[in-house]
Subunit: 124 residues, 4 copies
Amino acid sequence: MPEMDSSTTLAELRELVGRFVAERDWRQFHSPKNLSMSLAIEAAELMEHFQWIDIAESRRVGCEPAKLLEIRDEIADVLCYLLALANELDLDLSQAVRDKMVKNAVKYPADRSRGRYDPPPRTS
Amino acid sequence: MPEMDSSTTLAELRELVGRFVAERDWRQFHSPKNLSMSLAIEAAELMEHFQWIDIAESRRVGCEPAKLLEIRDEIADVLCYLLALANELDLDLSQAVRDKMVKNAVKYPADRSRGRYDPPPRTS
Amino acid sequence: MPEMDSSTTLAELRELVGRFVAERDWRQFHSPKNLSMSLAIEAAELMEHFQWIDIAESRRVGCEPAKLLEIRDEIADVLCYLLALANELDLDLSQAVRDKMVKNAVKYPADRSRGRYDPPPRTS
Amino acid sequence: MPEMDSSTTLAELRELVGRFVAERDWRQFHSPKNLSMSLAIEAAELMEHFQWIDIAESRRVGCEPAKLLEIRDEIADVLCYLLALANELDLDLSQAVRDKMVKNAVKYPADRSRGRYDPPPRTS
């Protein structure tokens, strides 16, 4: 696990983004509607790096340092907007992820979802 | 700052997602190309909650508990895929955010970006 | 109705795009998977023009010729990829739109959907 | 070329969508900002059909009638919102596509773009 992720809390990153936004008086632009658009826009910019390459090739971007740096910046953009949105809505991201993983575990039971990406048929 | 975000590291959430994926043998689907699509798809599902409402209304979703729960789940989905992508690419998200914020601070100097969302013209 | 749209068929635009793709030997990149990504990427680039402005302001872009030209180019990009995808899948777009509008008319009956964007509750 | 696309003009489809919108008094929701979100949302729903399959598999969806019908509906949704947006902005789509293809032909000269998806380096 990367070093800084092992010692950085979600709250610390949220505060970093929150300060940046406050210092520029940008909360006026940061409505949830606008931030949801920003997230989708940044996600698309990330996707652009994988648009024309095939799946196997996309697994090898980790070996191209210059390309990887660009991708890393796009991922950071997505995360920054996600943190800004959590700030605006005052949501606990860690709790939200944990709760969603519980739901996902019900929808995709480990034993019946092995190697298949669609939810298994429900048992009665 | 929400309680759990104050004590949860990025690494802990990454491990949670990583275990979920491993238990289902889903890394075969988790190429960066596919995960970038997943991110964009989940971002769009989040955006759907704000599609027809206006900006002011979107600021009030925090006061609608049922709606907020749905939005919270979509945000969790976006974050889960982001964590899965960081796992695949072995990126340090906290470092990536910090580095990007430094770049952003250069592009948007606080004093000249106050209340404007486009980058200020460069000074020579 | 704009002049050229009144006399141009979908087939003519499809042929224009089809020739462009063939002349560059690009069908190798134009899998439906890749083209669906391209569509989403171009849609996000279009959205970028409306990211930070409010709804009323977005209605006034028609009065800003320079901005409108940029938007027009993004709309053309979305349409070009849609035409390319229809070419790859050999779909009749006009028939697809007509069929979908029939479904939409059932889901959103005119009298019960006036001024509301969510489907009305079903009557038994 | 599919039969109906050979005889349907862009204007006819635009009128079909325009009437549907007018009958429901939906122009109040159809700001360019909102429609750009709708386009991105529908593009993502289309992409969902290709999320986990590989490129070769995506080329074979044309042979799965049930799947293809779903995809066709999503493509129709994207096109409907594109037509609605053209109506709101009073843009000539056919002219926009033609103009963009001229620009694309300059950016991607046929002889130097054969089999490569990125623009060739500029010659001086």
